[in-house]
């Protein structure tokens, strides 16, 4: 993570068009990709829960989506800062990725509302899992919808010809990506361990009473 910061802030050459503000790219894009990854992971765990019916997948799916939502909120914040720096506005409806993240953010916040509203048990686990699966179906569908709905001014860095960056910038980007993914993974394990400990503790307490 430290190496990534050094690379992103000092070593990578500045973008000719965008100058210093372009450096947020090394944080913003990895965070966004990690958020997608977490949502995907949550959906895979949800599918496993429905398929195999093992209880532990419920907690894993929940924690993955929790991480995804946190990273999604960070994406919205960093994206907004970037928009302020390069376009002079905090928010623009014509930036497809930002709007998509807003829709996803709303969707996954509703996921938590659903979870907290239902009684603890297998039915809650399965309802949440079904909702998480709807989420991954919503990502491409919303993306298509937003693309249909708006003009396109978001800078496209990855095109069909490969990444449009110099080698140094690309290295910095990849290192940042790995760093953010690792961070997400560590957070995922920590939260999972905490939640499991919590559940164990509750069981023990009930056993003692």
């Amino acid at each position: 993570m430290g190496l990534a910061l050094v690379l992103a802030l000092i070593v990578a050459p500045e973008d000719a068009d965008q100058g210093i503000s372009q450096r947020i790219f090394y944080i913003h894009v990895p965070i966004a990709l990690t958020a997608y990854f977490c949502f995907g992971l949550g959906a895979i765990k949800a599918l496993l829960l429905l398929w195999r019916g093992e209880e532990r997948y419920d907690l894993e799916s929940y924690v993955a989506i929790h991480q995804g939502t946190i990273f999604g909120a960070l994406t919205l914040i960093t994206g907004s800062i970037w928009a302020r720096a390069s376009w002079g506005i905090w928010w623009t409806w014509s930036s497809n990725q930002l709007v998509l993240f807003l829709v996803l953010f709303l969707f996954y916040c509703a996921y938590f509302m659903l979870r907290f509203s239902l009684e603890d048990g297998p039915r809650r686990a399965r309802s949440s899992a079904v909702y998480a699966l709807f989420g991954v179906a919503l990502i491409p569908v919303s993306f298509l919808a937003i693309r249909l709905a708006s003009d396109f001014i978001h800078p496209t860095v990855f095109t069909r010809d490969g990444p449009q960056m110099s080698a140094m910038m690309f290295t910095a980007f990849v290192v940042s990506w790995v760093a953010v993914t690792l961070l997400a993974y560590v957070l995922y394990r920590v939260e999972l361990a905490g939640k499991r400990l919590d559940a164990d503790l509750r069981e023990l307490r009930e056993a003692l009473q």
Binding site: L114, R123, R126, F134, L148
Partner: protein, 212 residues
């Protein structure tokens, strides 16, 4: 064939309950008309024709939510859902029956609302009508599943709009696009895609939502 017969029987049950109780449809009708009148006063004079189409979609989505919020309430109150789940039929037939019943209510409400919209605001093209129809199918497919989830929760009235609105955003995009765009075909195709994807997903996952 028994699957189809089950679906028909379940749909007829819902329609009959509605005919006897009249809990949902009059509320939807009044709501959508009142909303259109509110919109007339909410739109500043000279705010353009396209704005009215956008507001029509707000009215449609919220009317659908009103109907969906009531969709599983009779089942929940009288414990019918447990009986239906135990009945020897495919569980997805329960979802399909409810979806068709809700869609019928929504279409009936729109049979009044759309002429009223034309009368108050703008004429509707054939593409716009097709968009309304396809979006109705989409919102009822997704909504009847979400409603079945929400009805088991503590705060079901609040929960349902939160669950459905993010999922309805693509439908609004498609519907408004079909009404105002020159290339309406693309938007209709998109709505068709949405309906297909989410119908299959809801059909396959309904069983997990209602079983204990």
């Amino acid at each position: 064939m028994t699957y189809l017969a089950d679906v028909v029987a379940l749909t007829r049950k819902d329609l009959r309950v509605e005919l006897r109780g009249r809990d949902t449809l009059p509320a939807m009708l009044l709501f959508v008309l009142a909303t259109l009148v509110v919109f007339h006063f909410a739109l500043p004079v000279g705010s353009g024709d396209d704005a009215a189409y956008g507001l029509l979609w707000v009215a449609i989505v919220f009317t659908a939510l009103l109907g969906l919020a009531r969709a599983w309430v009779p089942e929940q109150e009288h414990g019918v859902l447990d009986g239906l789940v135990l009945a020897p039929c495919d569980r997805s037939a329960i979802w399909l029956g409810k979806t068709i019943a809700t869609l019928t209510f929504l279409l009936a409400a729109q049979a009044v609302a759309l002429p009223a919209f034309v009368l108050f605001f703008q004429p509707l093209s054939a593409a716009a009508l097709a968009g309304v129809l396809l979006a109705d199918v989409g919102i009822c497919t997704v909504g009847s599943l979400m409603s079945a989830m929400a009805v088991a929760g503590r705060s079901r009235e609040v929960l349902l709009p939160l669950l459905v609105l993010p999922l309805a955003i693509p439908l609004v995009v498609g519907g408004v696009g079909a009404a105002i765009s020159d290339e309406a075909g693309r938007f209709l195709l998109f709505l068709l895609l949405y309906d297909g994807v989410f119908a299959v997903l809801s059909w396959a996952s309904f069983e997990y939502v209602v079983t204990e």
